[in-house]
């Protein structure tokens, strides 16, 4: 079972929905078999084995009454599941905004601040998480199959999804509303963590990006600045404060690149920098083919130090 399956559940909601799925599938199968058997009997039956009255009774009971009862039971049984879990006072509020084709993530801190990240959502196990979902450009949909159902992200609105993780691990989410050329390439990693580890991680995210220490990383930082990367991307603690693209302050702590589509590595970083439009059609990042491959690699080396 992959990290993105609705059956590899790690959340309260998803587990309920998995059970509901299994229940409805089994019942559906039974109903299908009954209908198929009735059809077979009907075709095999000789003329007038049931008369008009018998036939009408069949229509009344099997066609109308029994379905009404079954559906009413289904509705009543599933009504509680339509009520979302309530967000309690110590719920962690996470803002996620869909952008073409990546995720802007913000963790609200008790002091009213926000810690900005991108393309990865980390949540503590056992604590209620209150996602505030919005969209920057077009409609997207926020879906972590193992955690809960999906909620659309609609420009001009803020939707909520309240969920609670039950099991630590690495999972995957993906955009579920068609949003353009790279809709298929808009995923993200989801990390459910032990609460203490989560708090430590969040604290680390609060700090500025580490300054480059090795000569090559320093040269990479200079190239990063000279080529105007900071116009779109922010690196906390430096002059780079762009908000158009994903935040890079701690990019190297993430395991994937390009919104969950390729593993984090120097080679892939270089490929993305030089050829973003072919790695990700329709992305706003232009190609940097005019940069010397060595310079691209140097920038990639710098980014790799942003832990």
């Amino acid at each position: 079972m992959s990290r993105q399956s609705a059956f590899s559940t790690f959340g309260v909601e998803a587990a309920k929905m998995r059970d509901l799925t299994i229940l409805m599938t089994v019942s559906g199968f039974v109903i299908f078999v009954i209908v198929a058997v009735l059809f077979t009997l009907a075709i095999r039956a000789r003329r007038d084995t049931i008369g008009h009255r018998g036939g009408m009774r069949l229509v009344l009971w099997a066609g109308a009454m029994i379905p009404t009862v079954v559906l009413a039971a289904l509705l009543i049984g599933t009504l509680p599941a339509m009520r979302p879990i309530q967000a309690n006072r110590d719920a962690l509020i996470v803002d996620v905004a869909g952008e073409q084709f990546w995720w802007r993530v913000g963790y609200r801190t008790p002091d009213g601040g926000t810690i900005t990240a991108a393309n990865e959502v980390r949540i503590p196990v056992g604590r209620t998480v209150d996602f505030r979902l919005s969209a920057g450009d077009v409609i997207h949909s926020f879906w972590i199959p193992g955690l809960a159902g999906k909620v659309d992200m609609i420009p001009g609105r803020t939707n909520r999804l309240v969920a609670r993780a039950t099991k630590a691990g690495r999972y995957r989410g993906q955009c579920a509303e068609f949003c353009g050329l790279s809709h298929a390439l808009m995923a993200f990693d989801v990390v459910a963590m032990d609460p203490a580890a989560f708090d430590r991680w969040l604290l680390a995210q609060r700090s500025a990006a580490p300054a480059p220490t090795t000569p090559i990383a320093q040269r990479g930082a200079a190239l990063f600045a000279d080529n105007g990367c900071g116009g779109c991307h922010a690196v906390a603690g430096t002059v780079a404060a762009g908000k158009i693209g994903p935040d890079f302050s701690h990019i190297a702590t993430r395991t994937t690149l390009g919104a969950g589509i390729i593993p984090m590595s120097e080679v892939n970083l270089s490929r993305f920098i030089a050829h973003a439009p072919s790695v990700k059609p329709g992305a706003r990042m232009p190609a940097y083919t005019h940069l010397a491959p060595a310079d691209v690699a140097t920038i990639a080396r710098y980014l790799e130090t942003l832990k």
Partner: protein
């Protein structure tokens, strides 16, 4: 003409000669295309829709090839998005709905024992519009500019001209054009069912297919207009920058979703109910008995139609709507399974009570029902909101909808093809090839779509051009791809079977021993449709009425002749089908084609922003329509004629007794529905904004004065029209003309007064959604006033030309219907824009 007269073989031969001459199709390489007879127009329509289906199917095969393996690069993301958008849009707008209308155009006159539909030229116009619009939309993919925003076209992705290019306009304008032709066909079919039934065929004796045509056409009438309203707002945003869906300027993307799905969900039943209708014809034939529970199945169809308008929100479960509304729409969505269950059990009971003759069409029906039931069961699953939050926009839905559409549209159509082919061509298709094709299709469909349920729940979203191996769905996807090519092979077998058909020998008449009226058709059929229009006393007259076929053939029923050399059919009363009138039908003409080309040019030229040329096209359309109308409602050479058995019917009726009046009334219902879509937009914005209407420069207006003036003027023009109708009927023709002239001036004044409000208050439609929606309502109403002016001028001209008199007053009665609706539109518009702001 007594029964005895028809004993004379010479008389019969002479009658047949006259009928043949009257119904002779036009010939010549061009003029053969000016035909309007339902058999030929219906056949063109069917073949064209079938062609679009094959085309859209090939698009799907390319998609399946791309998705056969993970991270494939057979096609680019851009191509893939065009492929799935066009596949869905074409299957819905160019195949499923038109196919229903096409088949109905062929079958309806036969089912009703009519010579043709009441407005043959309207059918031809619908066909040419469909062909032009369809080729325009489908052809765009060869220029790499096909629509690529999904068949649902959600803004703001699709309204942003930097993200969605020409394709979005092609979708909106090309398909709007086709929607117009779909509504035209719906009007024709409704009037056909209500007014063209044979004497004695009361509503409760109607063949079930006719019932379903009525139900589905009424659904089209109310479902398509909200989409047309949405299209209007959508193009105003794209072409003029009016921000209906732009949240930065007060718009809301969700308005589009509401309008789209108010259309989109009934649409599902619009394409599904006709298939139930086919079952309802096929199952009794092969059970060799009447359908069991006729009133039940009719009520179930009506119930399904009714409920289907209350379910649209289940397409929006994930949009964050209030949970209480989700519960309501979950309940409604589950409830629609009940009438569907009734319809399916009616078939089970009928088969059970009858003696089943196994045949190829029945095999398709049963296979289709098996597939459909699976789709219905997964439909109940997705009606449960919490499950839908997982399944929505994943391959689970792709599986569900294809089970529904293959089981509920495509397979029944193939069954209907094998069933009705002898009716249309006089030849049977091959049983062997039909059954071979069936099993290939059945296995192919299940192999393609069953795995997709799992694919979706394993985390694969819809509309992705590729997927990573990490998802663990490669095996399932490969199975789906293999299945899809298998399915295509099944379709190919059917196509070959059809291609071999011309070489085969004719089948006997009524080869399935069916009991319904349409099987009167003779393998060597003539174009006149039916030899004489029968008196109906049973739902299955061929089985139940003595010597029925012979009596029809020998012209012993009604209207066996064409003495005056005119195409005619009988009009009966709406409920109990008493003969009421003989109408003269439209003959072959180039005018429907010209009108379609002119109207098509308006839509197509607008796509390319060639507004002046488009305006020229609009003027040409208006001219063509006026020329067309001028020949209608002609004053007959004598007031009445005998139709046999001592019955004499008038040749001219006006008002609610005439089909033309009904067509106007029904068209205006559709128009009013589109208008309510726009009004819904106004109040929708009011609900989403805490202070609506807003205030500020460019946003204050339009005041109460001008709207009230416009409302008063419209009401005056309405009153003059009604008064002119009454005076004209009393013989005071001069006074009626004077009132019409006065009304014309007042209507024109109301047009300008309606626009004066937003104009003088400088409402700036690009600034905010409030001025934009006010302008839209004002322009909509003003445009309708403009059409009202044309109506009054036309009626005046008819009166002056002697084509309308005090006895022959169809024109003024029809435009009065228009003015009722215009007055209603004006009251709602001007109260909304003029009074509501001060009330709220």
């Amino acid at each position: 003409m007594s029964l005895h007269a028809q004993d004379d073989a010479n008389l019969r031969a002479a009658q047949e000669e006259r009928l043949r001459a009257v119904w002779k199709p036009p010939s010549g390489w061009f003029f053969r295309w000016t035909d309007v007879n339902n058999n030929r127009v219906g056949m063109w329509y069917t073949l064209t829709a079938f062609g679009f289906m094959l085309f859209a199917g090939v698009l799907a095969l390319i998609m399946r090839a791309q998705l056969a393996v993970p991270a494939n690069d057979l096609v680019t993301a851009s191509t893939f998005n065009q492929l799935f958008t066009l596949h869905g849009s074409m299957m819905m707008f160019l195949f499923a709905v038109p196919m229903f209308e096409a088949v109905s155009i062929i079958l309806l006159p036969q089912l009703l024992g009519a010579r043709d539909l009441p407005f043959p030229r309207l059918s031809a116009f619908g066909y040419w519009s469909f062909l032009i619009g369809g080729v325009f939309v489908a052809g765009s993919i060869f220029f790499n500019v096909a629509p690529d925003g999904g068949w649902f076209m959600y803004p703001p992705f699709t309204t942003r001209t930097d993200l969605a290019g020409l394709g979005a306009d092609i979708w909106m304008l090309g398909l709007s054009f086709i929607e117009v032709s779909s509504v035209a066909a719906a009007v024709e079919l409704i009037v056909g069912v209500l007014k063209c039934r044979p004497p004695g065929m009361r509503l409760n004796l109607m063949p079930l297919y006719a019932w379903y045509i009525l139900v589905v056409a009424v659904m089209i009438l109310f479902a398509f207009p909200p989409l047309i309203a949405g299209d209007v707002l959508f193009e105003l945003e794209r072409l003029l920058g009016w921000p209906f869906f732009d949240p930065a300027k007060g718009g809301d993307p969700l308005l589009w979703q509401h309008l789209f799905w108010i259309f989109g969900h009934p649409e599902v039943y619009i394409v599904f109910l006709p298939s139930i209708a086919l079952f309802a014809m096929i199952v009794p034939t092969f059970s060799q008995r009447h359908i069991l529970g006729y009133p039940w199945i009719v009520l179930a169809a009506v119930g399904t139609a009714f409920l289907s308008f209350g379910l649209w929100v289940h397409h929006m479960f994930a949009t964050g709507l209030p949970k209480i509304s989700l519960a309501f729409f979950s309940a409604a969505s589950e409830a629609v399974a009940i009438p569907t269950g009734v319809q399916i059990f009616v078939f089970i009971a009928t088969l059970w009570a009858g003696r089943v003759v196994f045949s190829t069409p029945l095999l398709y029906c049963l296979g289709a029902i098996a597939i459909f039931v699976i789709g219905g069961l997964t439909g109940v699953m997705v009606a449960v909101a919490p499950f839908d939050w997982q399944a929505h926009d994943t391959y689970f839905i792709v599986a569900h909808l294809h089970y529904v559409l293959i089981g509920g549209t495509l397979m029944p159509l193939f069954g209907g093809l094998y069933y009705y082919w002898p009716l249309i061509t006089g030849k049977k298709l091959s049983d062997r090839m039909g059954r071979t094709a069936f099993w290939i299709l059945f296995v192919g469909a299940n192999l393609t779509f069953f795995p997709m349920h799992i694919t979706g729940l394993l985390g694969m979203p819809r509309r992705v051009f590729t997927y990573p191996a990490e998802l663990g769905v490669d095996g399932l996807n490969l199975a789906s791809t293999i299945g899809s090519y298998l399915f295509a092979a099944g379709v190919l077998v059917i196509v070959i079977d059809l291609a071999l058909s011309p070489k085969r020998a004719k089948a006997p008449r009524n080869p399935w021993n069916a009991g319904t009226l349409e099987w009167l058709a003779h393998p060597d059929d003539e174009d006149w449709g039916i030899r004489s229009v029968p008196l109906i006393e049973s739902r299955y007259p061929i089985w139940d009425q003595r010597d029925f076929v012979a009596k029809v053939d020998e012209g012993r029923f009604f209207l066996p002749d064409a003495e005056e050399g005119r195409r005619e059919t009988i009009i009966t009363t709406t409920l109990d089908a008493r003969p009421a009138q003989v109408i003269r039908l439209g003959t072959p003409s180039v005018i429907p084609m010209i009108t379609a080309v002119a109207l098509g040019s308006v839509f197509i030229l607008t796509t390319y922003h060639l507004y002046w040329l488009a305006l020229g096209g609009a003027v040409a359309t208006l001219a063509a329509v006026l020329v067309w109308l001028w020949s209608t409602a002609e004053i007959p050479e004598k007031p009445e004629k005998p139709i046999g058995h001592g019955i004499v019917l008038p040749l001219y009726r006006s008002g609610p007794a005439a089909p033309g009046w009904w067509a106007m009334f029904i068209t205006m219902l559709a128009d009013a529905t589109a208008f309510s879509g726009l009004v819904f937009g106004y109040y929708f914005f009011w609900t989403v904004h805490p202070n609506f209407p807003p205030s500020g420069p460019g946003m204050d207006g339009p005041g109460a004065f001008w709207p009230m003036v416009a409302m008063a003027l419209t009401l005056v023009s309405w009153a003059t029209t009604v008064a002119a109708r009454e005076l004209n009927a009393r013989g005071q023709v001069g006074a009626a003309r004077a009132l019409l002239s006065l009304g014309l001036a007042v209507t024109l004044a109301s047009l300008f007064a309606g626009l004066a409000g937003p104009w003088f208050s400088d409402l700036a439609p690009k600034l905010h959604v409030y001025p934009a929606i006010v302008w839209t309502l004002a322009i909509w109403t003003a445009a309708h006033a403009g059409v009202g002016v044309i109506c009054q001028a036309y009626t005046l001209a008819r009166s002056l030309a002697g084509r309308m008199t005090s006895e022959h007053d169809a024109d003024i009665r029809n435009i009065t219907v228009y003015f009722h609706f215009l007055a209603l539109t004006a009251i709602v518009t001007y109260a909304t824009i003029g009074l509501f702001p001060s009330a709220s």
